[in-house]
Amino acid sequence: MSTAKDRAPGPAGSGLNDDIGEEKRLALYRSQVRLRDSEQRAFDLFLQNLVKGTSHLSLGQEAIAAGFAEAMVKGDLSFCTYRGHAHTLARGVPVEKVLGELMQKDNGLMRGKGGSMHLTSEEHGVMGSYAIIGAHLPIACGAAWRAQYRGDKDVSVCFFGDGTTNIGAFHEALNFAAVWKLPVVFVCENNLYMEYTPIKDVIPIPQPAADRASAYGLERILIDGNDADVVYRTAQKAFARARAGEGPSLIECLTYRHSGHSRADPAKYRPEGELEEWKKHDPVKIYRERLKQFGVSDAQIAEIDASVRKEVDDATEACKAAPSPPLDIITTDVYADGGWAWRN
């Protein structure tokens, strides 16, 4: 859990004009509020029976998505999990596109063909959201291999949970990336739980990712994942290392999800008081306080909050009004010729 010391804003005496700077700080704040409001809206729409299928929210984990995305530049690639709404939004995908996919409307990011667990927007560098635990770690290695092979300077960033550190693909990918010195950054969002089982019950070490880094010759990196400044600075360092050809990084971010694992989960397995304790370290709250501490006015903050709220409200209305996808796309894009023909 984060401590007051971990959450100190930066070097002593620093302020909005430190290494992060005012513009980036406001962007980090806006992004986190946008993720928070969009996820909260997704939950509300689920309660109204307007979000179909499943959904996995990142409420409480926004600083990680925002911090990494704000440190990425155009061309950098994100590989996400089924808990991928936040990472997708953080790369600049419109809220309407994401909510539309959750509501299985024609205006959705993949017109209803992928669903909440598979958000993809290649034009924003979102190279897919993967619902088989661990599958995307090797895939991110492959994208990084292409960058290495061609001399491209982009970094592949791969997000996953604490539970994912126990599957084979995690270990295959870490070893592979380290041996090939690939420009890939692995980000473990340790929210303390797999679906319903605490991660500590299924690992023989305290930290699922950080304590395994040394096995792959990597530095042990464990950070407060609820402090967007800490996340942002850590991301920048890892990206610089990747771009310089120095190989992969494995970053474990401590965080907590405020809601259940998926929409069906009331999260009754959590000990009493745990959620309340973590809510004191809510990333959005922390960041709002920090901006104020740095002298950003209440009015400026309220303006950001209002403009985000408007984007989410407008998106919601657009999605409610949008038609369902046409059935003729059921058989499109199975193969590269656009169709599904398996015979002549």
Partner: protein
């Protein structure tokens, strides 16, 4: 024109494509300096260097996952899975990742890659290194699946697979690596989804794949000589896309269908072909379609046992003869 082995054809096919396109890269276990466990890629490392021909750890998921990530972002990787049985440890990529990415992303994600793998029995390796698993892949929408039976087809279909924009699983047959065939000089490019009539006949159609192709041809020759039965032999070559036109046209001419499969009995590719013929050409048939397969058992290792479970020219011949009432 030169006679080369099926093994050397693999190298030549890959080399042809790597020389043509710098985006073609090749990765797998022991494939670079050692030239592969079956010596089917000897010389590629020397010709193209260690940046394009790369050895990997024993990490089948990393191999296929890396191939996919590279393919999604612009390369044309060829990945080797040493024995096709090992597809089982990286089946997620074959079943869930390669073939679904384009569809789930509504056409955004591309996956132009080739997985080549040594398939099939005959080496007395036992149940985990001898299987024919092309039907594991055939059942998955979004994949393409080929299994050549001759050196020229290896080169031509490899080129077609590498140039194809979809993920292709390329099954090489272990017991064919030493077989030889005439191959013209210069570039060879074939077409996926095309079967080949290797022998024309009027009395029955025998559809076969990979190692079963030379066995079907041998059976057909003996049926002609010993019994005057005139068999048409079709090499399916490509299970997906499937050239049903060639098969249906042949059945319309011969009125009888036999499939020869190395797979164990249940859900082999022959069952699909029989079902298509039953649906669409039932009234062309003069008798029941017959599947000749390996029995539904794990493969035994010992030579005398392995030899009796795989379809042999003798078994094909006897089955056809009995079914035609000759």
């Amino acid at each position: 024109m030169a006679e080369i082995s099926y093994r050397d054809a693999v190298t030549r096919g890959i080399a042809q494509e790597m020389a043509r396109d710098p985006d073609v890269v090749f990765l797998g276990e022991d494939v670079a300096k050692p030239g592969g466990c079956f010596k089917a890629t000897v010389g590629l490392y020397e010709q193209f260097g260690g940046v394009r021909v790369r050895d990997t750890p024993i990490s089948e998921q990393a191999i296929l996952g890396a191939a996919m990530g590279a393919a999604m972002t612009g390369l044309k990787p060829i990945a080797e899975i040493m024995f096709s049985d090992f597809i089982a440890v990286c089946f997620d990529y074959i079943a869930n990742e390669f073939p679904k990415a384009r569809y789930m992303s509504n056409g955004q994600t591309k996956c132009p890659l080739v997985v080549r793998t040594a398939n099939g029995a005959g080496s007395r390796f036992g149940a985990q290194h001898s299987q024919s698993v092309e039907n594991w892949c055939m059942m998955i929408p979004g994949l393409k699946v080929v299994a050549p039976s001759s050196p020229i087809d290896v080169i031509g279909l490899m080129a077609a697979a590498v140039r194809d924009p979809d993920p292709v699983i390329f099954f090489e047959h272990k017991s064919l690596y030493n077989s030889k065939g005439e191959v013209p000089d210069g570039e060879i490019l074939d077409t996926l989804g095309t079967a080949k009539i290797l022998r024309s006949g009027k009395d029955c159609t025998i559809v076969a794949l990979a190692l079963m192709v030379p066995r079907a041809l041998e059976a057909a020759e003996r049926l002609r000589i010993d019994h005057g039965i005139d068999c048409e032999v079709i090499d399916v070559r490509s299970l997906v896309p499937l050239d049903t036109k060639t098969i249906l046209a042949s059945v319309a001419k011969t009125h009888r269908l036999f499939t020869v499969e190395e797979n164990p009995r249940l859900c082999g590719w022959g069952a699909e072909i029989v079902s298509i013929v039953a649906d669409e050409a039932f009234y062309d048939l003069d008798g029941p379609p017959v599947r000749i397969t390996t029995p539904h058992i794990p493969l035994p290792a010992a030579d005398i046992m392995e030899d009796v479970v795989l379809p042999t020219p003798q078994r094909i011949m006897e089955t056809v003869k009995r079914s035609l009432g000759a």
